[in-house]
Amino acid sequence: MSDKEKKAAEAKAAKAKAAEKAAAKAAEAKAKAPDTPDGWVKRLGKQRTIKLLNGKKVKRPDPIHLAAAQLHGWDDHRHHAGGHMRLTQADYEKALKAAERPVLCDDGKHHYVPHPGALSEHHPHGKSFKASKIGQEK
């Protein structure tokens, strides 16, 4: 292989590497980009296939997601804000964790405490969750 050919091959390899790096960066950015809760359900596979009575098969979020949606007011958000809430993957996963188990709070009882990064301002108790001592993990 001549020097010219060698240089060309090296340049090609470097270009491919740079493209690969850029693609990985883009994928990483996409993964980190905020998405809707329903978007995260699909992307993370938190779904079950449901067969309806008419025989059609649809995909529905699993019950922990449904509990998290209620806890964080995601449906309220869609209703009042006219669009889906957007949150990062990390916030979405923390929201699921928050809906799995209640924690001991200042009132001496165990409450499900929403993850602040996933809580909609349109949740009926959103403000009180933030303002009140109740809901603050002990």
């Binding site: 079950r48 296939t49 449901i50 067969k51 009575l53 529905r60 979020p61 699993d62 019950p63 922990i64 997601h65 449904l66 509990a67 949606a69 209620q70 806890l71 007011g73 449906d75 309220d76 209703h79 809906a99 799995e100 188990r101 209640p102 001991l104 001496g108 009882k109 165990h110 409450h111 499900y112 009926p124 108790h125 109740i134």
Partner: protein, 629 residues
Amino acid sequence: MGIPNQEITVLDPGLGLVEASPDTPIVLGVSSLGDDNLLRTYARKTDVVSNFGQGPLPEAWCKALDIAGGPVRGMRLTKSVVPTFGSITTTRTSDSTGTIAVAITQKDAARAWQIDDPAGTPVFTEQTADFASATTADVDPLPAGAVTGDQFAIGYDQPFTSLEQIISTSGVGGTFAYSYYNGTAVVPLTGVSDLTVSYTAAPGTYLSTWTMPTDWVRQSLNSTELLYYAYAEVDTGPYGTDAVLSQGQINGHGAHDDYEVIVEILKTGTVATGTFRYSLDDGRSYSGEFVIPSAGDFDIPFADITITFTPGAGAIFFEDGDVFEFDVNAPYYAVVDLATAVTALLAQSLEFPFATLTGTPASAADGATMFAAVDGHATSFENINRYIAFIMDSGDDTTTATLSSYAAVSSRRVMPVYGTTDITSAKPFEGYSVPKRSAVELLGGWAADKLISTDLARVREGPVPGVLEISHDENLTEELDAGRITTLRTHTGRAGFFVTNGRIKAPSGSDFRFWQFRRIMDVACRRVFIEQQNFLNISVRTNSDGTIDERDALRLESIVNEALKIELTQPANAEGTRGHVSEVNYSIDRTNNINQSSTLISTVAIRPLGYAKTIETTIGFALEVAEAA
């Protein structure tokens, strides 16, 4: 001694039998005994109590057996939400100084084994009695000069995460790690905090704790009973000086239910002289009289709560009339625990019409979170053609907060129930006869007792049994029924308490406004599903356009209609007339080209009974009055 005589005592209940139930529902919740996520069926309360002990699950299970008869199925859920104690309120007669403290009763290990050479020819030396007793320096947990692999095994009939041990002689030179059996091998426990420092800490009392494993499996050691064993296994040896213990006890297995505790001093004095009694049901029933123990600690049986009396400076220590009050909040399951139980239920082939979720969410917001998950689970069952409704507590909260928290949720299969009842216990014990219970337990039994078409609020069914008081009377403050939350109520001129409406929290406009519509539809779905299973892959004659031949359509319709009639239109309803529904008809589509589509299309139409929810009457004096029929 009196003159010769006989005394005959008739034991009742001896058999503990109950009437057969028309339906076999399931109760889910937590209890002091039993295994998690295993379905059990019992028709006798004695079996429920001996196998599941105390807690919301056995209380509701026994209540259902009392009201509806048996059998009733039940499943214990993992209680990852630990019990909590409210603050103690003290009311003194004058200026006594005594106080009480409260804690979960510590338990003795069921077995304690010193194991020498477990990997070779194990030599078991039992330490159980010495480990339980307070006698000092009588427990040799490890063999003399313990080397790597030697073990001290502590067994209990429930998984445990906290062990308190008293070191009397500190060990020197070795270390151990805690481990457990996962069904395949003995593996390390995680999240371990061992304040005994492998029994090398200075003499004293120390806690060892760890994270509860999810796969802990019982074992039999030395041909004894199956138990959950925690192993302290030497990983660095030998011990130059052998550790000697005085005692060890297991923490965290008590306060099994919701209790409203009152401790009342009956005789003025200090420890060993004063006396007291206790109540677990807010004073509606009391224990006998007890002397305040000289050591200060008194264990309330069944509840497994320890009260510690501390006399203080005096001169009056505990005085007649002094009252100490506190609440205990029962352990509970979390959303994730319910998901595990549902996975186990989905794997069962047994069918059940509905499930009662015992226990009370700490608030309405917590209840709504649980509700959303329960609705998701109901859909999972429906997905595999198992048609199940759920009854759950809406949460311990105000009516306003309940309406607000539940405003955004709906389900065609879940009935949230609000409020508590002061109700006769189905399994009373000393000091616990009329506890305050979630109304959900009552509703579960009440629903199991009713025909599928019977409105849970039907006044002629009579008042709900055993209820002395209710926390919320919808008749006085009509707040929650319109929000599709089930409540209890009074009726003017009638004694007792009644269901306001069996409300499913269905979305606006849904047909499933009331419990009976859900039940009827589920019976119809189940029947049609079973009958149509016989139609799968059958052949039918067709017309020239590929549609089903009328003769075959009629034949298939007749099969399903007959079955539906047997379930829905022929049985007597609560009024004594025939039919849980007014009419039902199954029909097969005659326009579908079955040759082409290979699909049989059917429709079921059900006309339900009408329910007299409101009665409007005009009354007045008149000259012309028709003779009454």
